[in-house]
Amino acid sequence: MLDVKGLRKEFGDLVAVRDLYFQLHPGDVFGFIGPNGAGKTTTIKMLATLLEPTAGTATLNGIDIVRHPEEVRPLLGYMPDFFGLYEGITVTEYLEFFAAAYRIPKSQRATVIENVLELTDLTVKKDAYVETLSRGMQQRLCLAKSLIHDPILLLLDEPASGLDPRARIEIKELIRELGAMGKIVLVSSHILPELADFCNKIGIIEKGELLVWGAVDEIVRQLQANRVLEIKPLGDAEPLIQRLEREPLVHGVEPRNGSLYVHFAGGLEEQADLLSALIRDGFRIATFREESLDLEDVFMRITKGEVS
């Protein structure tokens, strides 16, 4: 289990990461989402023990990452946002190097390498030179290397960036599979929908602050407690706006494209009551519907597009 306890990083006056708290369990695939400069990479580097936090810590299976980095390192696999591979050697030689560097016994190396090659679909390229691989294959090779010592925590910093749609889908499949294998997977991205379909948990970070985190459906539900209704009146909208603003559950009305977008704090019951009341008051209503929220809206709603 990964338990992040008040992780904080300051660069001079800038607070890049502000007191993060979250917990992840084996099998969790955690989507870590935020705009540029939000602090994703900084957080991941701290979890990877490559950057010392200013305050706070995290434990992986009870081991403190700040006090015992050398004990945590064998338990984690890390794929940086900018990664490189050694050139001038073949895929197999590359993996053999890391197998040796992770002290995997010689007798097991061939099997381990075969397994990660198969998992990352690189078996056909096992004798190719590393620099002759395509970007997507290199990404998979980097992932294969991160898996060679069978880590329990995987930190993937924007693994899908620079990949074509097909390669993106493949890497998503792979991440899903890793979650199913019982690993804790933390994947960062700028884009929520990219992560939504294979993460079971998400966290949204902006300006170093974790705005929300939790199970995906729970977060969507939370946000829908404050929903938006689209009401399209026939004729002049002004009286309807005045009428709506008197409603206690209405928090704001925005006229846009001939419709009114109403921020409404009630549930379905209250929503039905509102419609009846409006009709009773003689308003002629052409459209009355709840604006459905997809994950992108959730993201846009939570973040304000500010960067630190």
């Binding site: 990877a48 023990t49 490559l50 010392e52 980095p69 050398e70 390192r73 064998p74 984690l76 890390y78 940086p80 900018f82 990664f83 490189g84 591979l85 050694y86 050139e87 001038g88 050697i89 073949t90 030689e93 053999e96 190097f97 890391f98 040796a100 560097a101 992770y102 002290r103 030179y129 980097c142 290397k145 991160s146």
Partner: protein, 293 residues
């Protein structure tokens, strides 16, 4: 835990990369090797034929080291930064000591190999009057200068994180230390220090110690610790018996004894090796801190 474990860094740098390079571009590397072998043979024959002074092959060896050692070390760590591979390496179970030895050991081995390549040349130079002291001191000096270059280069490439800056600093630094400083020193002092305490006056161990202290205080070390001038002096060792026989108290007869008391060549080598160890130590400390090893 304590068991002697393999060091994949060492093995890969020494064998795998080299083997693959040959495998992939046998013509290019074959041609380069052939060219080098040919020039070596030519020099070898020249030295053997003319029974050139010991200083000739030693100077060639030193020049080769001055040129090649920076090439061995300039990207040791900077490439890990530039290619974004250092994080993956830092996260493995390799210890800071193993990473240091993996890289340092490789370049030291190469410097030693390159130095030893010149041993046959040394042995055919001035064939009958050869001094074992001069051969050993000369080779050690060449190796130590190379060791200093690669260690400094390793540390610089760790600190600067840039391949190009490291390479330029190494070559520019050599021009400064080997050429400019001795020239400027000689220009400004008119080499007076040589007359104040000449080498032939050093005829005991304690005088030798004082001589070195004097050399440091008088900035004469800018010349005395220069590997090229050091090599030049080694040629005087050859005369040790010849002149001592005719005129045991002449300057020319005492000069070689002065060099022997000064442990000429060995003292300079020790100094270079000490500096080399210092830079390796600094790199080790850097790994401990920056890579949190």
């Amino acid at each position: 835990m304590k068991a002697k474990s393999e060091n994949p860094l060492l093995a890969y740098h020494l064998f795998v990369f080299t083997r693959n390079r040959w495998r992939r571009q046998p013509l290019l590397y074959g041609a380069a090797a052939f060219g080098i072998a040919l020039s070596y043979f030519f020099l070898f024959m020249l030295i053997a034929t003319y029974e050139a002074s010991l200083v000739v092959p030693l100077t060639i060896a030193l020049l080769a080291i001055c040129f090649a050692a920076p090439l061995m070390a300039y990207n040791l760590f900077s490439l890990e930064y530039e290619k974004h591979t250092w994080e993956s390496l830092a996260l493995t179970r390799l210890t800071a000591r193993e990473i240091l030895w993996g890289k340092w050991g490789v370049v030291l081995t190469r410097v030693a190999g390159l130095t030893l390549l010149f041993l046959p040349m040394l042995l055919v130079s001035e064939a009958d009057s050869i001094s074992a002291y001069a051969v050993i001191a000369g080779l050690l000096l060449v190796f130590s200068w190379g060791a200093l270059l690669v260690s400094f280069g390793m540390w610089l490439s760790f600190k600067l994180k840039r391949t190009l800056s490291t390479a330029s600093a190494l070559y520019a630094g050599q021009v400064l230390v080997l050429l400019l400083t001795p020239v400027l020193y000689t220009l400004f002092t008119n080499n007076q220090a040589r007359d104040v305490m000449p080498i032939y006056l050093v005829q005991s161990h304690s005088e030798a110690v004082w001589w070195w202290i004097f050399s440091f205080l008088h900035l004469r070390f800018l010349v005395d610790l220069n590997p090229f001038t050091t090599l030049l002096e080694l040629s005087y060792l050859r005369d040790i018996y010849a002149f001592a026989y005719y005129d045991p108290y002449s300057e020319r007869a005492l000069y070689p004894y002065g060099l022997l008391y000064l442990k000429w060549g060995f003292t300079q080598s020790a100094f270079y090796l000490l500096l080399a160890a210092l830079f390796a130590g600094l790199t080790y400390r850097g790994l401990k801190i920056a890579w949190r090893k």
